[in-house]
Structures are given as C-alpha cells and as structure tokens.
C-alpha cells in the first residue's frame, strides 16, 4: 500500500514530528511504500539545517534525513509556509536577496501541488498535527 505523511508539527515543542517519524518507520517495516512526506505550517521547521540538538537528545531533522537517505524518501517542504518562517534554500535566498539559506540536505521546497499529487497517488494519507 502507498502512504503519504503530512507533518504539521514542529520538531520541538510538540510531539507530532516524532510520532510521524515512528509511524514512517513502522510503515516501511510493514513493507508499505511512502510516496511523500509533506511538511506544512510549523512542520516546515523539520527541514532546517541549523538545529543544534543537545547531545543527550535526538535531532528530529537529522532523523528525517537519515530515514530519507536509507529509503529514498521524498521530503517536500511547503514553500509558502517555509519562506515566511525563515526557511529558505539557495534559490529562494537569491530571489529574496538573502546571503544565507538553511534548508537541510534531503529536503526540497515545493508547492501545495505536491500535496495534492501525493493525495491522488497514495492509498492512505496520514496527518500529524502540531498541538500537543
């Protein structure tokens, strides 16, 4: 079965991103496929390259990167939600006149069309929300 996962929870403050990671691992362990992970609203912060995680804690962004590298996952960050929260890639930095950018490797900025396509392509779409 084909799954897509929507992450609206930030990597800290709420548990949703961690739950989504656990769920993604369980989906893959069961032999299903993950078509896309779409990061939306405050969930875009999962894609930052600048997180500095205490040594006794697990970095959520790094875990997404590792999982994506291992299973060739498509990690898409909503571009409209991202740029207004200060999460940009090199291309957007050029567009907005910034000298720096912070989108982590393995993530890609794209539009809501990617979410629509994921919903059309996937058998199940599961959302992990921000408040908790």
């Amino acid at each position: 079965m084909i799954f897509s996962i929507i992450v609206q929870a930030p990597p800290v403050q709420a548990q949703g991103a961690e739950t989504a990671l656990r769920f993604a691992r369980a989906v893959l362990a069961a032999g299903h496929r993950i078509h896309r992970v779409f990061f939306y609203r405050d969930g875009v912060h999962n894609g930052t390259a600048l997180t500095c995680t205490p040594q006794d804690e697990n970095s959520i962004p790094a875990q997404w990167q590792a999982l994506a590298a291992e299973h060739d996952l498509d990690l898409v960050v909503c571009i409209a939600a991202a740029v207004r929260r200060g999460l940009i890639d090199e291309s957007e930095a050029g567009r907005y006149g910034h000298r720096h950018w912070n989108l982590a490797d393995g993530f890609e900025l794209s539009g809501l069309g990617q979410l629509v396509e994921a919903c059309l392509t996937s058998d199940r779409v599961v959302t992990f929300g921000g408040r908790s």
Binding site: A26, A30, G129, S132
Partner: protein, 93 residues
C-alpha cells in the same frame, strides 16, 4: 470506515467532542500523544458511547505513566495495520 486519531488532552475537550460527533458507528478512535489521557478512568463516561472502538498508542501511554489493560493498547505496527484496514485516516489536533 474511518480511523480517527486524537492527540489532544482532556484540557482540550472541544477537540474530543468534535471528533466524537464526527464518528460513525463503524469508525475507530486511536488516542495518541496527550490524547492517551482520555483513557484514564476519570473520563470513562465520555468514552462510553465508543465502547470497543477506542485504541491507545502504547508507547505514548507508557511515556506518560498511563496504565491501561493490554487489550486497549496497540503498538506502531498495529497503528499502520489500522490505517490499512480503514478506508481513510482523519487526524484531530
């Protein structure tokens, strides 16, 4: 047949009530994250109408010290299986 997930604690009762009102008789409710607190005995009456259709994510209950009968708790693999056995998943948060 829909799987509903709820991650809000009893302090956000409005979220739970919206979820409960949206549920059909063959839907299932999975309590996750702070939503597992709804499984405490104090809230049993609120869950009465959903009898037999409420599951709790075991890791989240254990992390919060919510001690429940094993029959109500499911692991992450069973969460995925519920997603497969239901037509769609609706998340309340």
């Amino acid at each position: 047949m829909i799987l509903h997930t709820l991650n809000q604690p009893p302090a956000n009762a409005a979220c739970f009530e919206r979820c409960r009102e949206a549920m059909s008789s063959d839907d299932t409710l999975l309590l996750i994250e702070d939503g597992v607190y709804w499984a405490l005995p104090a809230f049993a009456a609120r869950l009465e109408s959903l009898s037999g259709r409420v599951k709790v994510l075991a890791a989240d209950a254990a992390a919060r010290g919510v001690d429940l009968p094993a029959a109500h708790c499911i692991d992450d693999q069973a969460f995925v299986a519920l997603c497969v056995s239901h037509d769609k998943v609706v998340s309340w948060f």
